[in-house]
C-alpha cells in the first residue's frame, strides 16, 4: 500500500508530465464529506460519456469526404468535458484537431485523433491507478481539501 507521500508524488507527476492542469485541482477542492469521491466520480462519468463521443468521431473520420463541421462540433463537445476535468494533453489535442478541421486538413485530423486517443487512454490508466491508491490510503488522502 502506497504511502501518502507516494500518492502525492504520483499525482504530482501527472501534473509534471502535463497530463493534468489546475482544473483537476479545482475538482479536488470540490470534494467534501458529502462527496468524498467526487473527483473519481467525475472522471468515471467523463470516460463513460466521452467514449461515445470518441466513437462518433471515429466514425465521422471514416467518411469521405470528411464533414469538418460535424467533426469540429463533436470535438468541441469533447474539448468541453476534457477541459472540465483538467485533462490537459487531451484538451490540447482537441484544440489541435479543431484547428485541422478549420483548415480542412483531413490528414492532420486523423493524425491528431490518433494521438488524442493515446493521450485519452494513457490518462485513464494513470488516473485509475491514482484513484486506486488514493482510495486505499483512505479518504483523508483522497480528499485534498483546500484548507
Amino acid at each position: 500500500m502506497a504511502s501518502r507521500r507516494q500518492i502525492a508524488a504520483m499525482k504530482q507527476s501527472l501534473f509534471d508530465q502535463d497530463y493534468l492542469d489546475e482544473q483537476f485541482i479545482q475538482l479536488e477542492e470540490l470534494q467534501d464529506d458529502a462527496n468524498p469521491n467526487f473527483v473519481e466520480e467525475i472522471v468515471t462519468l467523463y470516460y463513460r460519456d466521452s467514449s461515445r463521443l470518441v466513437s462518433n468521431i471515429e466514425q465521422a473520420l471514416e467518411r469521405n469526404p470528411l464533414e469538418f463541421n460535424r467533426l469540429d462540433s463533436l470535438m468541441h463537445q469533447f474539448k468541453g468535458s476534457s477541459s472540465s476535468i483538467g485533462a490537459k494533453k487531451v484538451k490540447a489535442e482537441c484544440t489541435l484537431f479543431r484547428e485541422y478541421c478549420r483548415a480542412g486538413n483531413a490528414e492532420g485530423c486523423k493524425r491528431s485523433f490518433q494521438q488524442l486517443k493515446r493521450e485519452y487512454a494513457t490518462l485513464r490508466k494513470k488516473l485509475e491507478a491514482y484513484f486506486q491508491q488514493a482510495r486505499q490510503a483512505g479518504p483523508f488522502e483522497a480528499a485534498r481539501r483546500s484548507k
Binding site: 479545482q26 466520480e41 462540433s73 468541441h76 468535458s81
Partner: protein, 685 residues
C-alpha cells in the same frame, strides 16, 4: 412579477447575511441564489452543479434547453439566474437566451469551451450578462450573484427615479435592461430608461391594474401575434391596451402585454445596443444628420414663406403654407424653432465641427424633432389625407429622438416596424430591385466606416433614387435596416432630410399640386412617411417604398439645390453627404447615383429659383458638394436620370421644369469646382 421576485431575492440575500461566519463573505452573501444550470455535457453539468452548490447556491440542473424553458415557465419566479451552455443539440444556447430575455428577463450567463471572439460577441449581443469559457472555475461562479444584484439594484434605482410612477409601472420596469448594461453601457441604458420612463409614464398611468395576473406563456405564435400588433401600431404608439385589443387573445391581460412589451423593447434595444458600442462615430454622424434635418425644417419654413410671397404657389399651396406655419407654432410649444434652426445652421457651416460635437448636436437635433412633432398634426388634414398614418409616425419619431439620443438606432428599428403602410410608390421600386444585393454588400462597408459615412450613404442613396427613382438607392436603405445598428438612425435622418426637400416631389406623387411641395412642413411630413415606410418593410419592401418615394426625393433635392446655389441651405448639406458617401464607397454605382443626384440637384436649382429663400448663408461648403455631385452625374447617367426625373417633375410643376432645364446647363460647370473640397471634408470624418 419582477418586483415580487426582487423582494424574494432580497430576503434570501439578507438572511444569509445573518449567518455570517466572517470567513468568506462572497460565499455567504449570495447563499441561496437560485440557479438554473443548463448543459448537455453530463460531466460539465455535474462539475458545475457541485461548484454551484459549494457556493451555497440552490441549483436546478437540466441537460436540455427545452427542459430549462419548461422549468422557467412553470416557475417563473423560481430562479434568479440562468447558466447555459452555448452548444446544445436541441436548442442553441442563444435561442434559449433569447427566449429567457423575452419571457422572464432573468440574467443569463453563457458558457462554452469556445473562446472565439465572435461567439462571445454573439452571447453579448443576445443579452448574456456574462460569458464563461470552459473549463469554468469556481472563482467565476462565486461572483455570479453580482449579476442578480446589479439587476436588482438597477431596478430599485428605477423605482426611485420614477417615484411618482405607479405600482403598475414598477412591476414592469424593474427588470428591463439592467443586466445588459454591464459595465460599459450602464450609463446609456439608464439614461435611456429614464427617458423612456418619462415617455411612457403617461401611458402606463392610465392603467390601474397593479394586481398580479397569472403568467402567460409567450409561445412563438403568441409572440408573433404580439409583434404583429406592435408593428401595426408602431412601436412607439404601441400601448399595452391597444396591443391587447389588436391581439384579441382571451385570457391575456394588459399586464401580460405590458411586461412583454417592455421586454420586447428591451430586446430591440439590446440588439441595437451592441452596435452602438462599436461606433461612437455613428453617434456623431447621426447628430450631424439630425442637425441637417433640423436645418431642413427651418428651410422648409422659409421656403414656404418665400413662395407665398412670390405668389407662385397655387391657392391650395398657400393654404398648406399657412398650415405649415401653424405647425411651427405648435412645434414651438415643445421647443423654440429659432434656436433649433440656428444650431443646425451652425453645424452645417462647420461640418467637421459637427462630428466632434456629435453628442451636443444630438441635443440640438432632438429639438428639431420636437418641432416636427408639432408639425405633423397640422399637416395631417391637408396633405396627409392619404398619409394619415404618416403623421403619427412622425410624432413617434420625435418622441424617440428626444428620449434616447444615443440609442437612435432602436428608435429607427421601432419606427420601421411600427408603420405598416403600403404606398402607391411601391410600383416604382420593382424594376430596380436587382441592384439590392450590391447595395447590401455596401452596407457592411459602411458599417466598418464611421457612422457618418453610413448616414451619408443612406442619403446618397436617396438622392440617387430621386434622380433615377432607381432601385439602387432603395437598396442602400435596406442595408441600414439590416444592419440595425446605430447607423440606421443616421440613415433615416438623411432620408428625412431628402424627403423634406422633396416637398416638391410630394406634389408629383400626390398630384395635388405644388401646394404640398411648396410647404416646408408638408415636405417634412412626406419625408417622414417615406422614412417610415422604408423601415417598416424589410429589404425588398423597403426598396419598393423607396422607389415610390423617389419622386419625392427628387423634388426635395431640387429644393436643396436651389438653396445651395443661392442661399446654400441645409438641404445642400444633405447633398454633400450623398456625394461623400459615394466617394467613400468608391463604387461605380456611386458615380451613377451621383449622376442622379446631380440631376436632382439641377432640378433643385430650378426649385431654388422659385423658392430663393436665401435663408441661410455661409453654406458654401454645401454648395460645393452639390457641384461635385453634378460632376459625377455627368459621367454616367445623365440621359437616364434626366429622362426619369424630368417626367415626374414636369408633370407636377411646369414652372419647375422650365427652371430645371436651365439649371442643368448650369450645373456641370460649377460642379467640378466644388467637388474636390467636398470630398475632402467627408473623408476626414
Amino acid at each position: 412579477m419582477n418586483l415580487s421576485n426582487g423582494k424574494g431575492s432580497m430576503s434570501t440575500v439578507s438572511s444569509p447575511a445573518v449567518s455570517k461566519s466572517g470567513d468568506i463573505v462572497s460565499d455567504q452573501f449570495p447563499a441561496g441564489l437560485r440557479v438554473l444550470l443548463v448543459d448537455d455535457d453530463p460531466t460539465c453539468l455535474m462539475i458545475l452543479e457541485k461548484m454551484l452548490r459549494t457556493c451555497l447556491y440552490e441549483v436546478t440542473k437540466c441537460n436540455r434547453a427545452e427542459i430549462a424553458l419548461t422549468y422557467l415557465r412553470e416557475n417563473k419566479n423560481g430562479y434568479d439566474i440562468v447558466i447555459s451552455d452555448v452548444h446544445m443539440p436541441d436548442m442553441d444556447g442563444f435561442k434559449l437566451l433569447e427566449h429567457i430575455g423575452l419571457e422572464m428577463d432573468l440574467p443569463v450567463i453563457m458558457m462554452s469551451a469556445d473562446d472565439g471572439k465572435n461567439v462571445v460577441m454573439k452571447g453579448v449581443t443576445h443579452g448574456a450578462c456574462d460569458y464563461l469559457i470552459k473549463p469554468v472555475r469556481i472563482e467565476a461562479l462565486k461572483n455570479i450573484w453580482q449579476h442578480v444584484i446589479r439587476k436588482r439594484k438597477n431596478e430599485w434605482k428605477d423605482l426611485e427615479q420614477s417615484g411618482s410612477a405607479e405600482e403598475g409601472d414598477q412591476k414592469q420596469r424593474p427588470t428591463d435592461e439592467v443586466d445588459y448594461s454591464s459595465s460599459a453601457n450602464e450609463g446609456n441604458w439608464r439614461n435611456a430608461k429614464k427617458r423612456r420612463d418619462e415617455d411612457e409614464e403617461a401611458e402606463e398611468r392610465d392603467d390601474s391594474s397593479t394586481l398580479k395576473k397569472p403568467r402567460v406563456v409567450w409561445s412563438v405564435e403568441l409572440h408573433q401575434q404580439f409583434v404583429a400588433a406592435v408593428n401595426q401600431l408602431g412601436i412607439d404608439k404601441a400601448v399595452p391596451k391597444k396591443i391587447l385589443e389588436l391581439m384579441n387573445v382571451p385570457g391575456l391581460t394588459r399586464e401580460n402585454v405590458a411586461s412583454h412589451l417592455q421586454k420586447y423593447r428591451l430586446y430591440l434595444r439590446r440588439l441595437s445596443g451592441v452596435s452602438q458600442h462599436q461606433g461612437n462615430l455613428n453617434n456623431s454622424f447621426i447628430s450631424s444628420q439630425e442637425a441637417t434635418f433640423g436645418a431642413i425644417s427651418s428651410l422648409s419654413g422659409t421656403d414656404l414663406q418665400t413662395f407665398a410671397a412670390a405668389g407662385q404657389l397655387p391657392p391650395q399651396s398657400l393654404a398648406t403654407l399657412q398650415a405649415a406655419g401653424l405647425g411651427r407654432s405648435t412645434a414651438k410649444t415643445g421647443m423654440p424653432m429659432p434656436l433649433v434652426d440656428q444650431r443646425n445652421l451652425f453645424s452645417f457651416e462647420n461640418p467637421r465641427l459637427r462630428f466632434g460635437e456629435g453628442q451636443q448636436q444630438y441635443g440640438s437635433s432632438s429639438k428639431p424633432m420636437n418641432l416636427l412633432h408639432g408639425i405633423p398634426t397640422n399637416m395631417e388634414p391637408k396633405q396627409l389625407a392619404s398619409l394619415h398614418q404618416s403623421t403619427q409616425p412622425l410624432g413617434s419619431l420625435n418622441m424617440r429622438v428626444n428620449a434616447s439620443p444615443s440609442q437612435s438606432n432602436p428608435l429607427l428599428m421601432q419606427i420601421s416596424q411600427s408603420q405598416p403602410r403600403g404606398h402607391m410608390l411601391n410600383e416604382l421600386n420593382v424594376p430596380h430591385v436587382p441592384r439590392l444585393p450590391t447595395s447590401m454588400g455596401q452596407s457592411p462597408v459602411s458599417n466598418g466606416s464611421p457612422g457618418s459615412a453610413l448616414g451619408r450613404n443612406g442619403i446618397s442613396d436617396n438622392s440617387r433614387g430621386a434622380a433615377y427613382s432607381s432601385v439602387p438607392q432603395t437598396s442602400s436603405m435596406l442595408n441600414f435596416p439590416l444592419s440595425q445598428t446605430t447607423e440606421m438612425p443616421a440613415s433615416s435622418f438623411p432620408l428625412r432630410n431628402t424627403p423634406d426637400m422633396s416637398s416638391i416631389t410630394s406634389k408629383g406623387v400626390y398630384q395635388d399640386g405644388g401646394s404640398s411641395g411648396m410647404k416646408g412642413s408638408s415636405g417634412f411630413v412626406l419625408s417622414y412617411d417615406i422614412f417610415n415606410e422604408l423601415h417598416q418593410h424589410k429589404s425588398r419592401e423597403w426598396e419598393v417604398q423607396n422607389m415610390g418615394q423617389n419622386p419625392s426625393y427628387d423634388a426635395s433635392q431640387n429644393a436643396n439645390p436651389l438653396q445651395g446655389n443661392i442661399d446654400v441651405s441645409p438641404s445642400v448639406l444633405v447633398h454633400q453627404g450623398f456625394s461623400s458617401n459615394q466617394h467613400q464607397m468608391g463604387q461605380n454605382r456611386d458615380a451613377a447615383s451621383v449622376g442622379k443626384a446631380m440631376f436632382s440637384l439641377g432640378e433643385g436649382m430650378q426649385s431654388a429659383n422659385f423658392q430663393n429663400i436665401g435663408q441661410h448663408q455661409g453654406f458654401q461648403n454645401t454648395l460645393l458638394t452639390d457641384n461635385s455631385v453634378r460632376v459625377k452625374a455627368e459621367r454616367i447617367p445623365d440621359a437616364n436620370s434626366q429622362t426619369n426625373l424630368f417626367p415626374e417633375n414636369y408633370g407636377q410643376e411646369d414652372l419647375m421644369s422650365a427652371l430645371l432645364k436651365q439649371q442643368e446647363g448650369m450645373g456641370p460647370a460649377e460642379n467640378e469646382f466644388d467637388f474636390d473640397g467636398y470630398s475632402i471634408d467627408n473623408i476626414p470624418v
